[in-house]
C-alpha cells in the first residue's frame, strides 16, 4: 500500500512529469524510442482538458450512432433506443461548462442485414455509455454538448476526398453507414492513444486505456465488415483508402513529418505485402490501421495529438497552412462552431 512517503514521491513525480511533458518530451521520446509516436500537444493540458476533449468526440460519435441505429439523438431516445438499452431519460447534453448545442442532420439507416443492424445498435449504446462515463468522471468540469453537424458535414468531407464524392451521405445504405463509421473509429483510437501519455492520474489513464480498447474493437468491427461487404475491393474499400489518405494529410498539416512521426499514419483497407518468417512475401488484409514496415514501425498503432485530431474533425479548420499557426477555436465540418472547451481551449 502507498504510504506517506510514496504519496509524496508520487506528487513530485506527477508535477515533474507534467513539466517534462510541457517541455517537449516528444523530442526525448524520439531519441529513446524512435518508433513510438508520442505526439504531444503544445498546450499544457490538465487531465480535465484531455477528458473534455474526448467528451466532445464522444458526443459526436454517440449522436452519429444513435441517429444511424435508432433515428434519434442521445438526449431524446425513442422507443427503439430504449428497448436496445439506451437510458430512458436520455443522455444529458448540458454539462457545467459551455452551452449545449444542437445536432443537425442524421437519420436511421435502412438496415437490411442482422449483422450491420446489430453492430450499429451495439456501438450506439457503447458510445452513449462513454459520454455518460466521461460526464461522471469530470463531474462539474464536464463540458456541454457542442453544436454538431451530421448532415452537410458529410458532403464537405466527401468533396475533400480523392476522387471527390460531393453527394456522399452515410444514411442511405448499410455500406455508406459503415464508411461514415470508418471516418470516426480509427480517429477515436488515435485520439485516445495520443491522450494516454498526457494523463497524469492513474485512474484516468486506466479509463483512457479501456476506452482506447473499445474504440479499437469498434474500428476492427467496422473494417472487418466493410471487407466482408466488398469482397472484390471495388466499391467500399477504395473509399476507405481515400478517407485514410485524407486523415493522414490533415494530421500532417499540423505536424510535419518529424523524428517522432515520420510516416503517414493512416491506412485504408487495401491489401499489402508482408514478409513472414516462414514465407517471403505474402498478401495480407489491413484490418489493423497501423503502419507496418519492418524497419521503423513494427505494427504499433499511431497516436495523434489534439491538434491533429481537431484538424481532422474540422476538415482542416484547426490549422492555417499559410501562416503555419493554429486556429482557435477550430471550426468546421462536424463542429461548425468548434468544440466546447474549458479555460485552456483546444489547439
Amino acid at each position: 500500500m502507498a504510504n506517506l512517503e510514496t504519496q509524496i514521491l508520487d506528487d513530485i513525480i506527477v508535477k515533474g512529469r507534467r513539466k517534462m511533458l510541457t517541455l517537449g518530451s516528444a523530442a526525448l521520446a524520439g531519441l529513446v524510442f524512435s518508433s513510438a509516436k508520442t505526439a504531444q500537444a503544445a498546450v499544457a493540458y490538465t487531465d480535465a482538458d484531455i477528458l473534455n476533449f474526448a467528451l466532445n468526440l464522444e458526443y459526436l460519435e454517440a449522436n452519429f450512432y444513435y441517429l444511424s441505429a435508432f433515428g434519434c439523438t442521445i438526449d431524446k431516445p425513442n422507443a427503439a433506443a430504449i428497448a436496445a438499452g439506451a437510458p430512458s431519460a436520455g443522455i444529458p447534453i448540458t454539462g457545467s461548462v459551455g452551452t449545449a448545442g444542437t445536432v443537425t442532420g442524421g437519420s436511421k439507416i435502412p438496415f437490411a442485414t442482422t449483422q450491420v443492424a446489430s453492430y450499429a445498435i451495439e456501438t450506439a449504446i457503447e458510445e452513449g455509455k462513454h459520454v455518460l462515463f466521461l460526464q461522471s468522471a469530470l463531474s462539474t468540469a464536464a463540458v456541454a454538448q457542442p453544436s454538431i453537424n451530421l448532415g452537410t458535414s458529410w458532403q464537405m468531407l466527401g468533396s475533400a476526398l480523392t476522387p471527390s464524392a460531393p453527394t456522399f451521405t452515410p444514411y442511405t445504405s448499410e455500406g455508406n453507414f459503415l464508411l461514415g463509421a470508418y471516418v470516426f473509429e480509427d480517429v477515436g483510437v488515435t485520439a485516445y492513444h495520443g491522450a494516454a501519455s498526457l494523463l497524469t492520474v492513474s485512474g484516468n489513464l486506466s479509463a483512457a486505456a479501456g476506452i482506447l480498447g473499445v474504440e479499437a474493437y469498434h474500428a476492427g468491427l467496422v473494417r472487418t465488415t466493410i471487407n466482408a461487404l466488398d469482397p472484390t475491393a471495388t466499391s467500399l474499400v477504395p473509399v476507405t483508402n481515400s478517407i485514410s489518405a485524407l486523415r493522414a494529410a490533415l494530421a500532417l498539416q499540423v505536424t510535419a513529418a518529424s523524428t517522432y512521426d515520420p510516416n503517414p499514419d493512416d491506412y485504408g483497407l487495401a491489401t499489402f505485402q508482408v514478409s513472414l518468417a516462414g514465407a517471403a512475401n505474402v498478401t495480407a488484409t489491413r484490418i489493423v490501421d497501423a503502419a507496418a514496415d519492418n524497419t521503423s514501425n513494427f505494427a504499433v498503432a499511431a497516436a495523434r495529438n489534439t491538434s491533429q485530431v481537431l484538424n481532422i474533425v474540422t476538415g482542416g479548420g484547426a490549422y492555417n497552412t499559410t501562416t503555419k499557426t493554429a486556429i482557435s477555436p477550430a471550426t468546421g465540418v462536424f463542429f461548425p462552431v468548434g468544440m466546447n472547451a474549458g479555460p485552456n481551449g483546444f489547439k
Binding site: D47, T114, S197, G210, L212, N294, A299
Partner: protein, 352 residues
C-alpha cells in the same frame, strides 16, 4: 527545468521504483473536478520490478501469439534471430523450443484467399510486436520460453467440462478456419486486457521514454485483432442461423467461461468504473463478455468485450494472465499449459 528539480525528480523516480509494490504512479491523486478517480485500486504485483520486467512480460505473450499465428499462416514459426537471447544478454533465462504435433501445421481445410490473408496479417503483426519489444528492450530482452502449441486440445476439453455442448475431442485450431477462429479467440481478448493491465505499471520515466505510448499502441492492435475474431465468429453464426448450425460460437463462449473460472477471486478492471468492476481483491465479477447471436434488426451484437456499465475495456493483472496461459487456477504454479517450463518472466509464478 532547473537542476534542482531534475535531481529531485530523479531521486523520486528511483526511490519510487524501489517501492513499486504500491502500484502505479500517482494512484492516490485526484484531479480537480473529478469525482470518480480517487480510489484507484492497485492491481500491481508485490515486490520490485522495472519497466523492462513489464515489457518482458508482454514479450512472452507476443512470442506465444506470434508462434501460433505464424504456424497457422505458413506452417513454420519465428526465425531463430527473433527468439534467441539478444547480444549482450546477461540474464539467466534460456531459449526454449516450440512443441507441435502432426496436427499442428498451416491451417488447412478449404481455406479461402481472404481467410489466408487475414491470418497472414495477424501473423505479421504479432511477429512485428516480438521484434518491436526486442528492439525496445535491447540486450535486456528475454529469449523465447518453451511453447506448447498442442495445449489447445486439453484446453478445449477443459472448456467443455460441465457445458451442455458436445465435448471437443482432439481439438486443433489448425484443422480449419472456424477452428482457427476459436484458437485465436483464446488469445486476443486476453492480449487486450493484458496490455490494459500492464500500461499503468509503467513508471513515469517509462512514460517519458515512450513505453506507455508503445504499450497503448499495441493494446489497440490487439483490440483490432480481437474485434476481427469476434466479428467473424458472430457473422458466421448469423449466416448459419443458429448456434447449433455454427457451434464455434458456443466453443468460443466456453473458452470465455473457462478464462473466467481460471481467474475468479482476483478479477480486476480499470479502477473507478463503478460497481461490479471495482478491481478489489476478491471481486468475482466477470471480465468476460460472451458473444451473442443477434436475431433480427433490433437487437445488439456483443463484439466489444467491455464493462457493461460504462463500455470501458477490462484490464487483467500479470498474474491473471499467467493463470490463463498456464490453464491453471492453482496458486503457486510456475509453469503449465502453453508454457510447459513457465514464462521467462519475474511474474512467472502465479499468486492468489
Amino acid at each position: 527545468m532547473d537542476n534542482k528539480l531534475n535531481s529531485l525528480i530523479d531521486k523520486a523516480l528511483s526511490r519510487r521504483t524501489f517501492l513499486a509494490g504500491a502500484g502505479s504512479v500517482a494512484a492516490a491523486s485526484v484531479i480537480t473536478g473529478c469525482s470518480d478517480n480517487g480510489t484507484a485500486t492497485s492491481s500491481t504485483p508485490k515486490g520490485s520490478y522495472t519497466d523492462a520486467d513489464v515489457l518482458n512480460f508482454a514479450l512472452n505473450l507476443e512470442y506465444l501469439e506470434a508462434q501460433f499465428y505464424l504456424y497457422a499462416a505458413t506452417g513454420k514459426g519465428l526465425s531463430a534471430a527473433d527468439t534467441a537471447a539478444p547480444s549482450g544478454y546477461t540474464g539467466s533465462y534460456t531459449m526454449g523450443t516450440v512443441t507441435t504435433n502432426s496436427t499442428v501445421a498451416q491451417v488447412a481445410g478449404g481455406i479461402t484467399v481472404p481467410q489466408q490473408q487475414i491470418i497472414n496479417e495477424i501473423a505479421f503483426e504479432e511477429q512485428e510486436h516480438v521484434r518491436f519489444l526486442r528492439a525496445a528492450l535491447g540486450s535486456a530482452a528475454v529469449p523465447m520460453p518453451s511453447i506448447d502449441l498442442t495445449f489447445f486440445a486439453p484446453l478445449a476439453a477443459l472448456a467443455t467440462t460441465g457445458s451442455t455442448a458436445p465435448p471437443l475431442v482432439g481439438f486443433s485450431p489448425f484443422a480449419n478456419f472456424n477452428a482457427f477462429l476459436v484458437g485465436a479467440f483464446i488469445f486476443e481478448d486476453v492480449g487486450v486486457t493484458a496490455y490494459a493491465g500492464a500500461a499503468p505499471l509503467i513508471s513515469a520515466a517509462g512514460v517519458t521514454s515512450g513505453y506507455l505510448t508503445a504499450a497503448a499502441g499495441i493494446l489497440a492492435v490487439e483490440a483490432y485483432h480481437a474485434a476481427y475474431i469476434r466479428t467473424a465468429i458472430t457473422a458466421s453464426a448469423i449466416q448459419a442461423g443458429s448456434a447449433t448450425a455454427y457451434p464455434y460460437i458456443t466453443y468460443a463462449n466456453n473458452v470465455a467461461t473457462l478464462r473466467n473460472s481460471l481467474t475468479v477471486g482476483n478479477n480486476s478492471a480499470a479502477p473507478g468504473m463503478g460497481t461490479g468492476n471495482t478491481g478489489a481483491a476478491g471481486s468475482s465479477t466477470s471480465v468476460e463478455v460472451p458473444l451473442v447471436l443477434p436475431t433480427g434488426l433490433t437487437t445488439p451484437s456483443s463484439i466489444v468485450a467491455a464493462d457493461s456499465s460504462h463500455a470501458i475495456g477490462f484490464a487483467r493483472t500479470v498474474n491473471q494472465v499467467h493463470h490463463i496461459v498456464y490453464g491453471s487456477a492453482t496458486v503457486g504454479a510456475k509453469s503449465g499449459g502453453f508454457f510447459p517450463n513457465g514464462t521467462n518472466s519475474i511474474f512467472a509464478t502465479t499468486t492468489a
